[in-house]
């Protein structure tokens, strides 16, 4: 193996894979180091891709050239459009996936890439040369050189698995933890602390009494995650099921709480509030007499069932005991016990919005190492780290997605500006510009940027060009159709109006594009018509959000580079400290830092203006 690469990616999970592929698409030579080649792009926890807010992330990754959406479509066993009745901005696509096919698809794809090499080996140290990260050091002491390194270590750095009182080194069942890296990072000045996550037990398909529990079918209408996938699902669809815990379940858990590492104090790391273990739920919400439990297939041909909602780190015998109190699971056979993992992560305020670390140039971090949680969050960061690391090598402009353009932008900005104390998951409520960040307008939002940074193949550009063109054409066309109120009487009830165009009709909440087809408007594919309809219906709100964006962009245009915060008059000590630590790129970002008050921002404005009016000699 040659020992010089443009970029070395450590880790081959959802972040690592997107990072490596992004670099490869930009024409760079990449080495991916992983401890277990058979676990490339492995779905360690739930068997689904997407969801509310996560669907947004996946679709953004798709338009920016990533692979997650395509792979999710390829492995789709069931499709759901969540929140379909709660407003277009908060709709989220989710697919249940065949885990095996998902990772196999990506593994094969990545092996086909000529400029990606795969190394199955643990990397325990970075190679640093003249203050920059210049490669990694192998176990035998030899150096692999590169111009940048992207760390995507997931839950593996100094990882400990917990089940009951048993503690074991390891980042995932069947995989070893990795050591050395976090010590080196700590010595370099990184703030390394612990987080915790957990996973529920997996059970055998044939041991469940399916007839006793509720069926959860997917949607009848299928909408692929990716613009570049076939319009029909490729695998036969599968069902999910729903059952509930009950008072007996809760009693078993309460009786054995002292055996849970969460409550015995054995686990120090902070777990995610949105993904608590079942023992957590029972302690924190004692009044709730029952909790939902979804049973989801992990593979279409396999026998493993994922028990969503029952993440736990109780000992095996307790897990079996409480599972068997649940309707449908009376005779359950467990394939894999639930467990908790504790792992190291880096305080993300120590990285730039490009995901390059502030302490060690040319070192990029993506995924759970930054305190995030979830496949989609990891993939989004991996993609951006890959693009930015490549851009730096190719001497291109850095690529930072603003908050009003993408959930990926919100995600990274939140992490690097505010840091996090629990595994960070994406929610739509984190996006202040939610109404203009929709799944349906992802192409309009990001395709121009993807083109500008040359992130897409010619074929993909062609497909997206077509999508945009079709939408514009359809929208314009709607202005051409005109009716008098009387002409509409038989089909729609609308108020008296001189002349109705199809466009104005569509603004009414009770009129959909399907009604227009009844009126003789040329039928258009659903995905085109739906997107245009939403844009027209939400026009007023979209304008209002855009106005706010414009106002804030002015703040974004005021650079805070090379500011000595000691010279700024009127800053509190706390604000000064935070600003020095985070080094915001501009005023807009500064305003979002916790501890930087509006008055501190005023002080910065004055300082910046003053500096501008007194140019350096």
């Amino acid at each position: 193996m040659k020992n010089h690469f443009h970029i070395i990616v450590v880790g081959a999970g959802h972040a690592g894979v997107e990072a490596a592929l992004a670099c490869s698409r930009m024409g760079l030579k990449v080495l991916v180091a992983t401890t277990n080649v058979s676990r490339i792009s492995y779905m360690s926890c739930n068997p689904s891709i997407g969801g509310v807010a996560k669907g947004h992330l996946v679709k953004e990754i798709d338009v920016l050239g990533g692979i997650m959406a395509v792979a999710g479509d390829r492995a789709c066993l069931q499709y759901k459009h969540l929140n379909s009745k709660k407003g277009p901005a908060v709709r989220g696509s989710r697919v249940q996936c065949d885990k095996k096919i998902y990772s196999q698809f990506i593994r094969e794809y990545i092996f086909q890439q000529e400029n990606i090499s795969i190394l199955e080996e643990e990397i325990s140290s970075l190679y640093i040369h003249s203050g920059k990260c210049a490669g990694v050091i192998r176990k035998d002491g030899s150096v692999l050189f590169s111009q940048a390194v992207i760390l995507t270590t997931g839950t593996f750095m100094s990882a400990i698995m917990h089940m009951g009182c048993r503690k074991k080194s390891g980042g995932r069942i069947g995989d070893q933890a990795t050591y050395g890296l976090s010590d080196q990072l700590r010595k370099l000045g990184f703030q390394v602390t612990r987080l915790k996550t957990g996973t529920p037990p997996r059970i055998h398909k044939d041991s469940v009494c399916w007839s006793a529990i509720q069926v959860q079918a997917g949607d009848s209408v299928y909408r692929p995650l990716s613009f570049f996938s076939p319009k029909k699902p490729m695998l036969p669809s599968e069902l999910c099921y729903l059952t509930y815990t009950n008072e007996k379940t809760h009693q078993v858990i309460r009786d054995h709480l002292d055996l849970s590492p969460l409550f015995s104090g054995a686990i120090q790391g902070v777990g995610p509030r949105y993904c608590p273990s079942i023992e957590d739920k029972i302690v924190r919400f004692p009044d709730k007499i029952s909790h939902q439990t979804f049973l989801e297939p992990e593979e279409s041909k396999g026998s493993s069932i994922y028990v969503q909602g029952l993440s736990t780190s109780l000992p095996a015998f307790v897990q079996e005991k409480f599972l068997r109190t649940i309707k449908g699971l009376e005779k359950v056979k467990i394939l894999q016990w639930g467990y908790a993992v504790e792992y190291d992560f880096i305080n993300p305020i120590q990285i730039w919005p490009t995901l390059e670390t502030k302490i060690l140039p040319k070192l990029y971090l993506a995924g759970q190492i930054n305190g995030s949680s979830g496949y989609e969050e990891a993939a989004g960061q991996g993609l951006m780290a890959g693009i930015n690391a490549s851009a730096q090598i190719l001497d291109q402009a850095q690529f930072i997605l603003p908050r009003h353009k993408a959930y990926i932008g919100v995600l990274i900005d939140d992490l690097v500006t505010k840091g996090t104390t629990e595994p960070y998951r994406m929610f739509t409520s984190r996006a202040e510009y939610r109404l203009i960040l929709r799944e349906d307008n992802v192409a309009e939002r990001l395709f121009p940027l993807a083109k500008k940074y040359d992130l897409l193949s010619k074929e993909k550009v062609k497909i997206l060009d077509q999508v945009i063109e079709q939408r514009v054409r359809y929208k314009n066309q709607l202005l051409q159709y005109k009716w008098h109120s009387q002409e509409l009487d038989s089909i729609l009830s609308v108020p008296e109006h001189k002349l109705w165009t199809a466009y104005h009709l569509l603004k009414r909440p009770d009129v959909s594009y399907k009604n227009l087809e009844q009126l003789g408007v040329e039928p258009t594919p659903q995905e085109i018509a739906e997107a245009v309809e939403i844009e027209i219906k939400y026009e007023g709100y979209i304008q209002r959000q855009n106005q706010i964006v414009q106002k804030n962009q002015k703040m974004g245009a005021m650079s805070l580079k090379n500011i000595n915060y000691n010279e700024v008059k009127g800053l509190s000590l706390e604000a000064k400290e935070k600003l020095e630590q985070i080094q915001p790129l501009n005023l807009d970002q500064a305003g979002r830092i916790l501890g930087v008050s509006p008055s501190a921002v005023q002080a910065l404005i004055v300082h910046v203006y003053r500096r501008k009016s007194q140019p350096l000699q």
Binding site: K86, V90, K288, G309, T428, L587
Partner: protein
């Protein structure tokens, strides 16, 4: 937080209160365009630093005769296009014009904003700039405290309550969006709707309250009430320091109302002397009594004058409700003829209930005849005016209340429609919250997510 924004701003440039003239400054890109709408006499191409004279009109009504001074962009204090309006110095006139300017699209300037703009435009030097900065700094640190101090009493309590209600609702809505599959027991549509209706009513009430507060600032209306011959007119004259009302020792001398004007520290007080309250068959006197009750409902302060000599002959025709009215102030007159202690003990004997009432009310013991303690009443007026000035009812608050009402009504409309738009409902509610928090002087930082986790059991 603001940069040099493009809003056109307005404010009174001279000190508030009574004065010969008041100067209102309008600065920003639209200033000439806006002012010309109410001052059509400004020529098409006005000359910089020139003065124009004419009538300021709004909606076909002449508001005042004014002088207009125009400054070209780049030649004014703020370096923006500036129009200054010199109007008559009554607070009524200047606040009216400021209201009109806001309706036409101006924003009321924040404190120090003209100076701030001047600095950003490079019109003032560093030392001055730092003073501005300190001003802004001091202001924002004190802002919350100050805002809260201004908002003492019911008003702020209601707002804080509204804020909590909206945050609670938002948490439920956001949980319903972001955790759609968690089967959470979120608020039902009906519950939301009930809360929204309540918020709307409260906002409306506060807006109504502003209009009343406005009246307070336009001049305090003080009515003098009481039984015949208790010395109402004597007090009236004593307060006015002139013999305007006819006084005699005969009961019922004042049959019609007499009004008089008085200024306390530059602010106007309108005093109204009313006919004494007694049973009567006289037609003229009956009319007078009707008027008295009318005045009672309209007045900002009601002075109820008691005759110290006849404690029991006091509350004829005055219902208990009226006695409990918070505007009612007791004046026990003729203390030169009977001491406070004697009066109280007699009252306690003869009118136990009234005596109890009196204990809970602000009461002044005076002699209108000798002028003893009359000054206390004047001081009391002054206090009231000061409270009215700093309390709730700043135009800024009014503006935010109106906007909050607008957005709550939109929320209601969205909820009424058969189409579910939780995304829009949440957007509108956040707007309402923003305006309420603006009045409270709080940073708009809605961490709904924290609230969600406190309330719901969520998790896969």
């Amino acid at each position: 937080m603001r940069l040099q924004d493009e809003d056109t701003i307005c404010a009174q440039a001279t000190a508030c209160g009574m004065g010969g003239i008041a100067v209102l400054r309008v600065s920003g890109r639209e200033s000439l365009k806006i002012v010309r709408q109410i001052c059509p006499f400004i020529p098409k191409n006005p000359k910089s630093h020139h003065v124009y004279f004419g009538s300021l009109c709004y909606q076909d009504q002449i508001i005042d005769e004014v002088l207009i001074i125009y400054f070209d962009q780049g030649r004014s204090f703020t370096s923006e296009q500036v129009v200054e309006i010199c109007c008559h110095g009554s607070p009524v006139v200047s606040s009216e014009i400021l209201h009109i300017l806001q309706e036409l699209g101006c924003r009321l300037a924040d404190r120090g904003e003209f100076t701030y703009r001047a600095f950003l435009a490079g019109r003032i030097d560093l030392v001055q700039a730092e003073n501005v900065l300190q001003l802004i700094e001091a202001r924002s640190q004190g802002a919350r405290r100050q805002a809260l101090r201004q908002l003492q009493g019911e008003f702020s309590k209601i707002l804080i309550h509204l804020q909590k209600d909206i945050q609670y609702m938002l948490a439920h809505i956001e949980a319903e969006i972001d955790f759609s599959e968690e089967n959470l027991s979120v608020l039902t549509q009906e519950k939301h709707f009930g809360k929204i209706q309540k918020i709307r009513d409260q906002l409306k009430e506060m807006i109504q309250g502003y209009k009343q507060g406005q009246r307070v600032r336009e001049g305090l209306k003080v009515g003098i009430f009481g039984p015949p011959n208790s010395g109402k007119s004597t007090l009236f004259n004593s307060l006015l320091k002139e013999d305007k009302a006819i006084v005699s020792s005969y009961a019922g001398t004042t049959r019609d109302q007499v009004e008089g004007e008085k200024f306390v520290q530059g602010q106007r007080i309108c005093l109204i002397d009313t006919a004494g309250l007694r049973e009567t068959t006289d037609v003229v006197e009956k009319r007078g009594l009707e008027k008295t009750f009318q005045t009672f409902t309209e007045a900002d302060i009601c002075l109820y004058v008691l005759d110290a000599l006849f404690p029991s002959y006091t509350f004829l025709k005055f219902s208990e409700q009226n006695l409990k009215d918070h505007r009612l102030i007791f004046i026990v007159n003729k203390t030169d003829l009977k001491s406070k202690e004697d009066f109280l003990s007699q009252l306690k004997e003869e009118q136990q209930e009234v005596y109890e009432q009196l204990k809970h009310k602000q009461t002044f013991y005076i002699s209108a005849q000798t002028g003893e303690n009359v000054q206390d009443i004047e001081n009391f007026f002054h206090e009231q005016l000061k409270n009215g000035e700093t309390a709730v009812y700043l135009p800024r608050h009014y503006r935010h209340l109106l906007k909050a009402l607008y957005h709550i009504e939109r929320t209601q409309k969205l909820m009424n429609s058969s189409h579910e738009h939780l995304d829009l409902i949440s957007f509108e509610l956040k707007e309402v919250l923003k305006h309420i928090q603006n009045i409270l002087g709080e940073n708009v930082n809605v961490d709904v997510i924290d609230e969600i986790f406190q309330q719901f059991c969520i998790g896969k």
